[in-house]
Every structure is written in C-alpha cells, then in structure tokens.
C-alpha cells in the first residue's frame, strides 16, 4: 500500500462570481521514501492540492467536495480537526514558498521550533531546546545555539527557509510537502536548499511531494512527476520517461521553456513561451482545457467534444490529450520546421 493515496480529489472555491474548480478530480499516490514532483504554472491547482492534503485550505470559501486522501489507512478529508492536528507537523509536514512571511515575526526562532516538538513529542523545555539546536545544526545554521534566541528578522531568506525545514523535520514526519520551496530564494541559495532537502530526506527516510513550476527542480529531485493544468492532471510518468518522451503538448511546451546548456539540442536564441493564458476555472467549456493554447488542436476534432480521459499510453505513463506526441504523424518535423 502506498503511503499516501489521493483519490479523485475535488476542491472548489465558492466565490461570489461562481464556483472555482481549483482542483478538479486529481488522483495520485506517493510511495514510502519516494519523491513525487507536481509541476504546473501559477493557478493550476498544485498548491491547493497540497493544502487539501494538509486540511489547510481556507474554509470558507474553499471546500473539498469530493474525493479522499488516504494516509496510512486514514482518510484525512474525513478526519476530525483535532485528530488532523495530531497528524500535521508530526506525520506530514509542509514548507512553504515565502520564508520571509512564513515565520512569526514576534516569536523567537527557538520558540517556533520547540513548540512543535513539545506539542507532538511532549518533550520538556530543556529537551526541546536541545533538539532545536540539533535541528538548526542539521540545516547548517552557523552558531546554532547562539542563534536560537534571535527573532526571524535577523535571519536571511535562505536561513529562514532552513529554519522552516528544521521545523518541518523536527518530528521526523513520514511525508514532507514542499510547496515551491526555492522559488522565493536567491538563485545561489536555491541549489543549496534543494541539496539540503534531498540529503535530509534520505537521512530521515521520508517521502516527499515537491511542488514547483520549475522543471529543473523536479528533474533533480523527483522520482515521479505529475503535470497539472487547470485543476487536472494532464500527464504523469516516471521522471526519466517524462523528460525523454513527453507526450502532452503542454509538457512539451514546459520543457521547451526550459533553458538547455548542453546536449545535442542546444537551443539558440530565445526560449519558447506558451501563448495564451490558462482558462477561467469558473466557466470551463466541456472540452480539452488546453485546446485553446494547443498547437495541435483544431475546432473539429475530439478536443472540442469533451474533456479527454487520462489514459495510460505506456505502462506508468498517463496522458490526457487527443494529440500525444507518439500519436502525431511527423510531429518531429513540425517542431523543427
């Protein structure tokens, strides 16, 4: 049995303008000790998926209307809030995008770390403090014992994200959800933080869900990748398979937007952008959601008739498109032309 199984998850936002179907039927699973990457552009529902797993979506306006999140045999969607509190930060923890705003500015770093371990592991004040120093050393904060009583504003962005990681790991969770963990950081710090995350993941034998819009990040960290578009999974495959044989036109376009520095396909000149914008999630037409931006779709084929099914093209490789790369005649020639 997988550690986490998300089944047909629907999270909708009930707003004055209408129902926003932010997550619209998402299913995936995460095996113990493995890393799943969720990729997609802003607003595709990847963060809402993560928050739905944690039970942290803002209610109201959002609500999980359908589906289940099975974690070690328990359905987190139906778990009472108090029991969910025991899971959060203990068995599943999460780190967020912007470390500058994710730490409470009026509490000492030490307090913010120790309150987690004291809450879940019932450590005494001294033991919790000792554990906090140990954690800060693990995430390589220099002079950890001395920095414990500092307030967050004395820490840099990279250091604050390390503190977030330390807090997330403090109770040795089985699953860590990292929502854009490096997006807000300096480019030079991004790689350090990613390496640190991967190193600690191995050490703690955690499973991880890493959410990003950066294909480069998942290429290094993930075992399996889920590509989301407009609230749905459009492609899902093993990391090597996905990078070598992307099937969905959207995935291809995402990879095309990635700068390449080596190999035969060195791109010259400008990166290719994806024209258009994602659809309005309130008024979704009964058609392929990517069709308006897809270079292969046309008004007369199946793309306009209904939302394509997520089908398994090859073992373990799922795609939701009427025009996957392997079914397109002369696709290569068209791309290079």
């Amino acid at each position: 049995m997988a550690l986490l199984e998300v089944n047909d998850l629907h999270t909708h936002f009930f707003t004055r303008e209408g129902v926003v179907r932010a997550v619209d039927g998402v299913s995936f699973s995460v095996e113990r000790g493995k890393t799943l990457g969720i990729v997609g552009e802003s607003g595709c529902g990847k963060s809402v998926t993560a928050l739905s797993i944690m039970g942290l979506i803002p209610q109201p306006p959002a609500r999980i209307v359908e589906g289940s999140v099975m974690f070690e045999g328990r359905d987190l969607v139906r778990l009472p809030e108090r029991e969910l509190e025991d899971v959060r930060g203990n068995e599943i923890s999460m780190i967020f995008q912007d470390p500058m705003t994710c730490l409470n500015p009026t509490l000492r770093i030490g307090t913010q770390i120790t309150e987690t371990v004291r809450r879940h592991q019932g450590l005494s004040r001294q033991d919790a403090r000792r554990r906090a120093v140990e954690l800060l050393e693990q995430v390589r904060i220099p002079n950890a014992a001395g920095r414990l009583d500092d307030y967050p504003h004395r820490y840099s962005g990279g250091m604050r994200q390390r503190v977030m990681i330390a807090m997330a790991l403090s109770c040795t969770p089985k699953l860590l959800i990292a929502d854009e963990p490096t997006t807000a950081l300096d480019v030079t710090v991004q790689a350090q933080v990613l390496d640190l995350l991967e190193e600690l993941r191995r050490e703690y034998q955690m499973a991880m869900i890493i959410i990003t819009h950066d294909m480069g990040v998942v290429a290094e960290a993930a075992d399996e990748i889920v590509v989301m578009y407009a609230g749905q999974i459009v492609e899902q495959a093993d990391v090597l398979e996905l990078f070598d044989h992307p099937e969905h036109p959207y995935t291809e376009a995402l990879l095309g937007a990635l700068p390449q520095l080596e190999g035969e396909g060195i791109r010259e000149g400008r990166l290719t952008a994806i024209p258009g914008r994602p659809p309005d999630l309130i008024q979704l037409p009964p058609a392929c959601r990517f069709a308006p931006r897809c270079r292969y779709a046309n008004r007369h084929d199946a793309c306009a008739q209904g939302v394509p099914e997520l089908r398994e093209l090859r073992p373990g490789h799922f795609v939701r498109s009427g025009h996957p790369a392997s079914e397109r005649a002369g696709a290569r020639a068209e791309v290079t032309a």
Partner: protein
C-alpha cells in the same frame, strides 16, 4: 531598553517647555484680562497693583522664565481669579477624581472592547459578528453626553437599580460615568481588534502555525492575538490621554467634582496660571501614556527594538 527609556525621558523636557511656551503665547493672544471682566469692574489703580503682585507687568519672557522655574519646583503658582487658592491645591483636590474616571473608563474600554473584537473576528460574517459590530458602530457614533443621559434615564430613574444620578464617592456612583465615557473607546477598540485579527489570520505564519499541528487555542492566543494587539497598543496611548483629559462633559452631567470644570472656566476667565498648570499636567500625562505605549510596543514587536537602539 534602559537606554531608550532614559533618552525618551530626557526628551520630555524640551517637549514640556514647548507646551508651556505655546499655551503661554496662545493665552496672551486671546483678548481679555483676569481682573477686568464685566461682572467685576475694578479701578485701574487696583488692577495695576494686582498685575504687579502677580508679576503680569513684566515682559513676557520674564513671566515665561518665572513660570518655568515654578514648574521645575512643582509650584504651579496661585490662581489669579479664585482668591487664596493655589493651582497645586486645585490639582490635588480635583485631579484624582478625573484621573480615576479616565482610568476606569479606559479599563472598561479595554476589558470589554478587545474580547468583543476577538469574538467578532473569530466568527466573522456570523450574526454574532454583525451584532457586535452594529453595537460598536452605535457606541462609536453616539456622543458620550447622550449616552450619559440615556444611562441616567434608564438605570437611575426607570429601573432604579441603585445607581445614583450624580456624584463620585461610592462604587455605585462610578458605574454609569465610567460606562458613558468608556463606551466610545470600547467600540473603537472592538472595531480595531476585529480588523487586525482578520488581517493577522490571513498571514502566512498563521498557516505555518497550523501546519505544525499546534492546537487551535495556542494558534489564536500566541500567534494571532499577540500580533493583532500591536496596532491596538499604538492606539491605546492617545486614548488613555484623551480619557483622562477629556472627561469635562461627563463630569458636568454627573456633577463629578473633577478637574474638567476648572479647566474650562479658567479659560473663559483668563485665569492664566490655572490654564497653564493644567495644560502642563495633562501634557505630562499624555507624554507618559505614549512612553508606556512605546515600551509595550518594543516588548510586543521585537523588530522595533533593533530599529531604535
């Protein structure tokens, strides 16, 4: 912190000197004279003698210097109009009542306003929220003298639950004035707290606190409330000053022998020394209220501590 407090205390000296100077100039700019009001016409010779006695015939800067000297030795001088009374006596006799009224009203506003705002924020957009905010709007909009009259009418006359209509001695007599004066600030605190609470609840660090699995109660008290109170404390200083100094109307209605009455009559009768003395006293109170706020601010928000040392 000590350095900060000492520096602020030293700064109060020039501020008080400036307050004295400004009051001094403004009082002299109003036409009129303490000894020649229409009811008490006195011969010119006597007036000159009086002016000499109170040193009003000297140049203004000498008067100013003399007055500052007096303040420095805690001597606010004699009243020019009320015979044989020193300003110090007036303050000693009447100020404690105004101080008590102001402090009680502030306490009332704080103790009831903040929980009301917290409840409204935690149950945002519920009937409880709408109800308490309607109550706050009314409390804020209705002037205190109207509230006072209504309170007297309902509780002293109609219901007769033991609250006297006037005076300031037993605890029963202090209830209605305290509510009348404190209702506006209470409504203000409630609205302010609701707003800052709702804003704080949206913060990323609150999501972090929940993601750590902390109990709801701890998230609210330690993470939300503490951060929400920072703007409230900022507003509390001036409000405390306002309540202690601005209770004139309420004192009139409830016939409380506070300092407010003396302040107003001193201005109309050009009793320079009383006006000056009370202005200095009230300035000192406002200055200290703000100093306390700044110290509390540093305790609540560590970021400001680094910024000012």
């Amino acid at each position: 912190m000590t350095k900060f407090v000492v520096r602020r205390l030293v700064w109060t000296v020039p501020v008080i000197l400036l307050v004295i100077l400004m009051t001094f100039v403004m009082m002299r700019l109003i036409k009129g004279n303490p000894f020649r009001t229409s009811e008490r016409a006195i011969p010119a010779e006597i007036q000159q003698n009086l002016e000499r006695k109170f040193k009003l015939d000297r140049p203004w800067y000498v008067q100013y210097a003399n007055y500052v000297k007096g303040v420095a030795t805690f001597d606010l001088g004699p009243s020019l109009v009320l015979r044989n009374r020193d300003v110090n006596d007036i303050v000693k006799e009447h100020f404690p009542k105004s101080l008590e009224l102001g402090a009680l009203s502030f306490l009332f506003a704080f103790v009831f306003g903040i929980p009301l705002g917290v409840l409204a924020a935690l149950r945002a957009n519920s009937p409880l929220d709408y109800g308490s905010m309607f109550f706050s709007n009314v409390g804020f909009a209705v002037p205190s003298f109207l509230v006072a009259t209504l309170l007297i009418y309902v509780f002293s006359l109609k219901l007769d639950v033991g609250f006297p209509t006037s005076g300031w001695d037993s605890w029963e007599s202090k209830v209605l004035p305290t509510i009348a004066l404190g209702l506006g600030p209470m409504a203000y605190f409630a609205r302010l707290v609701r707003g800052t609470m709702l804003e704080t609840l949206q913060q990323d660090y609150i999501r972090t606190a929940k993601a750590k699995g902390l109990r709801w109660g701890r998230v609210i008290t330690l993470h939300v409330l503490r951060n929400s109170l920072i703007p409230v404390v900022t507003a509390a200083g001036p409000i405390l000053g306002f309540l202690i100094t601005g209770s004139f109307v309420i004192e009139q209605i409830f016939a409380i022998p506070g300092i407010g009455r003396y302040y107003v009559t001193a201005v109309t009768s050009r009793d320079y020394s009383v006006v000056m003395g009370l202005t200095v006293l009230l300035s000192v109170i406002v200055i200290f209220a703000n100093l306390i706020v700044d110290i509390l601010y540093g305790i609540l928000d560590p970021r400001t501590r680094d910024a000012r040392t």
